[in-house]
């Protein structure tokens, strides 16, 4: 476990999480959720939990992002708060 990698990816993770909540464009927010999913998958793969990383990559960066984008298309694209 290389701690330099970990620190960088963790900083990116926290920044992504804060941005995903603050952005007003909902389509961009669902894309940023996908980025968050990729980053946490990288963290898990580096820690040795390859099964969990595989599942997170398939579900989070694949199906979950598509479903969120499909839902955003059904409602407004601009957040109202």
């Amino acid at each position: 476990m290389i701690w330099q990698f970990d620190i960088i990816i963790l900083i990116f993770l926290v920044v992504t999480a804060v941005i995903a909540l603050r952005v007003k464009d909902l389509l961009g927010a669902s894309m940023i959720f996908g980025i968050y999913s990729f980053l946490i998958c990288l963290l898990w793969a580096e820690m040795g939990a390859v099964d969990v990383a595989f599942t997170e990559a398939a579900v989070g960066a694949g199906v979950s992002t598509v479903i969120m984008i499909a839902t955003v298309f059904s409602t407004t694209r601009r957040s109202k708060d």
């Binding site: 390859v50 099964d51 990383a53 599942t55 398939a58 694949g62 598509v66 499909a70 298309f73 059904s74």
Partner: protein, 241 residues
Amino acid sequence: MIIVGSLLLSATKDFPDWGDQDSPANDGPVSSFYIEKTEEKTKVPNMVTAVLADYRGYDTMFETVVIFIAGIGIIAVLRTYGNNDSTPKNQVGDEGAGLLAKITCSLILPFIQLFALYVVAHGHHSPGGGFQGGVMLGASYILLALAYGLARAKSCFSEKRTLVFAVVGIIIYVGWGVLCLIMGKEFLNYSALDSILPGGVEMARSHSMLAVEIGVALTVTAVMFSMFSNLSTKGRLDKGL
């Protein structure tokens, strides 16, 4: 919020080190049993799949049922059977994405599905297993729907077929447990199937894990595609994304 965050962060100083020999995860009796005995009792090198499908197979069965209930819940909440009286008369039609996306997807889709089936079948020796392969197979159908339009994906995997797949997956899992009951031992005790599966007792557990993972993969595939098709068309299932 910052106060709670800093309190939590200061509590992480008490955690054992990474890969510590003395930490309870590495040294406790349960995990030592799993780490030492899995290979000789089940002949399955991937410990995660062995714990998931054999030692804790009861939990995995209910996880599959929860996924099935989620799919059914989305169908129950969203699905409408209106008589097409709110759609405009001259619809553009559902052609999906542009030509380049269609050609790329048609080139890569068979490989995605083949790899998904490989991941399901090799869950014992490589990372993967039923759930990951099922999600990839469902995602391949979602890719088909995105590239060619929902009508084409529905002709391959209609709504009735998704429900049949989901139910058959659960019946395979529960039925395997009942088969173990019939052969004499407890529910989901795979060593009871020694007489009808080839190989010794260990190979019976390995083959049973494969059968159970196939059940999980079928259910997950069907539920992923059904969730996507219901959520992207608001329940009407007519025109895709």
